[in-house]
Homo-oligomer: 454 residues x 2
Amino acid sequence: MPDTTSHPSAELAEFTAQLAYEDIPPEVLRRTEDLMLDCVASILAGSSARSVQAIAHLADIMGPTSGPSENMVTRKTTSPLFAAMVNAASAHMVEQDDVHNGSVFHPAAVVFPPAIAVAQALGRSGPDLLTACVAGYEAGIRIGEFLGRSHYKVFHTTGTAGALASAVAVGRLLGLDKKQMLNALGSAGTQAAGLWEFLRDGADSKQLHTAKAASNGVSAAYLALDGFTGAQRILEGSQGMAAGMSTDADPSRLTDGLGSRWTVLETSFKFHASCRHTHPAADALQALMHTHGLGADQIASVVAQVHQGAIDVLGPVTHPVTVHQSKFSMGTVLGLIATHGRAGLPEFDAALHDAGIADFRSRVTMELDPEVDAAYPRQWLGKVRVQTTDGRSLAARVDEPKGDPGNTLSRPELEDKALRLGTYRNAATPAEVQALIGRIWGLADTSMVGRLLA
Amino acid sequence: MPDTTSHPSAELAEFTAQLAYEDIPPEVLRRTEDLMLDCVASILAGSSARSVQAIAHLADIMGPTSGPSENMVTRKTTSPLFAAMVNAASAHMVEQDDVHNGSVFHPAAVVFPPAIAVAQALGRSGPDLLTACVAGYEAGIRIGEFLGRSHYKVFHTTGTAGALASAVAVGRLLGLDKKQMLNALGSAGTQAAGLWEFLRDGADSKQLHTAKAASNGVSAAYLALDGFTGAQRILEGSQGMAAGMSTDADPSRLTDGLGSRWTVLETSFKFHASCRHTHPAADALQALMHTHGLGADQIASVVAQVHQGAIDVLGPVTHPVTVHQSKFSMGTVLGLIATHGRAGLPEFDAALHDAGIADFRSRVTMELDPEVDAAYPRQWLGKVRVQTTDGRSLAARVDEPKGDPGNTLSRPELEDKALRLGTYRNAATPAEVQALIGRIWGLADTSMVGRLLA
């Protein structure tokens, strides 16, 4: 029973501070390993990007040039704060990391980098690391759900809720008690930031958001260990996050099913290298083309029937001028699916100057669909209507995109994806990725977490 | 004339990137020196505080243990990012740094620490440093005004606008061009954070807000130099700061009087060691007691007639349990004024366990005053009503508190204040403060900024 001073933030802090490895179901631990592999492979895939390199350069200038934690972008070592910052910057770069549908939150990018960096710094065990990551997921996803759809209209939930998710994961590794954990939430929440405005210009801020969410969480947790205090109701208080950044926050979501509902199992793996909002329509178009045996040249126009959030995020991107921006262009994504049958990293690299893709893009529009919108964000329905060049009107829908919890990836599929991501632009050798896979699959038996890419 | 792609953020970026030392009036430069001395003395005064020490400890763990910039809290050196972070954490600790009334923004704490740290790292001249600080002030204050009163109800403007002010000051020292400066604003704005919720618990977040505003601004500017892009309309865009964090933002304030109106001249020095919202009533009570020759024991009750912002910030603090919290307690501040004739740092240290002060506090109430509220934040009127123990009803008002632009401090007064702050709890010796004063008064003739507390 919560005591009389209990409130949702405090219950969440208590649950995450006291979560025991033994209480976590094996399938949750295995899925956490799956997600960690997916994340580290994403870090490798993003590591050569200009914006990630800029953040790595900042870390080189401002941070220590060696330390106990692994910088997976530079392959050097540094302090946990900068390892978390740089690795998190890279984790979300290629848009291949996981997403939680209900919270529209990308937990992996802001949970694994800080947790791995701090576990390495403190010499923690594999089970300690897994427990910390589960705690980070369970907190971050519930906080994202709590902040709601109104928050996501302007704020990048992965940046905002991400700071608290990172703080919880790191706090667990530091052994924070429930009061310290609540202070860590307070310090993380009062640093929470990230605005969608950058999308309009195709600017680099998304990497900054994950980088700062991860590193701010590290700061918040270490400060809490040192006695630094934070607001006790940073989430639900009258001058807290919801008061400032949401109009539909629901405090009951913060503690929903703690200990019985495992949100780790609810996240989706990404199959397309694009913003998640494009995936349902991409899968629906792929299904439609398969069913009717259509080629790209037989498609006169496509209407992607979407939820409002997709229009908010993707709508401003009408003429993508960077590869990153093209991942937020519904027309580009559908063009790649129609033309190549997939929208992976190499396809996006080639798409920007492909006249055929640009032409297809001009034939794609988005339309708010009441059914899709009502189901969102619980369920990400995909619906498209297609006009063919020979005058047919076709339609298709998918109820659960590939990679979603009910349609998830097997370990062989995950290993294949990790190999493709990890070797993208020669970030790592196939042998290095195989060694990484072995280390992560063996975490439960690891007494001290070392470098994953040694 | 602005070109057709011009907009308020871009105009502000252009002005600050191109501001020339020669174009800044001498009185603005001299006031900037005044403010810098006030700030460094405040850093010294705050340096022994537990929350500041915790942030210094974080910097020791996470940052380099030596570097080109001066950590004025530990008296060691480190990278510019951590010097900015730790010095800014301390600058606002004792609540003796400056405030700009119209924006309810404390510019010094978030402008001088990053500017000094980066000037030291780059070996810039005194005039370069002064120019950068003026640019930071002119940007930060206008951004605070732009964000408006609705923003300040939930967000700590010094934390939010502060990140952009820091970015501009640092960007100027890095020699950013107008496009890079706009990118720096974008990266700073998307990191902008700071919620008032911590006040309810007397938590340590205020130090974190200034620390992170300063260091995030450093990151944003260095990233911009490296080609990292940010939103072009982070302030006024439809998913930017105002869209997410204000309901009364006025874009015209961003460019108001650029080049002719110098906001540096508009900030106020603090005379009491408390939240600025308490100062007008404190001065009015002091005037009333002086006029009528009253002692504290002759006062039965006080009504402080205030603006709504004072009620929002001070209202939750009914029973202060920390020295810091007592600086947000109107009753405590008025009790110190009545009892000791001043509310300085030593008075606050002694107040917490003083039964007489607690008793006086119980006789103080706040009341929303339409005249005071209408004048705010342009003017901070002080009004009090007093009931005396012998049954008299008295009232007093002040139009301009001591330290305000029309009632500012002379250089001897500033030097005296710096000496008191700098030697508080033996942070520095009187000789060190004298040397500091000499270095700052000599900045205009300094070819390379070195350590200020060598």
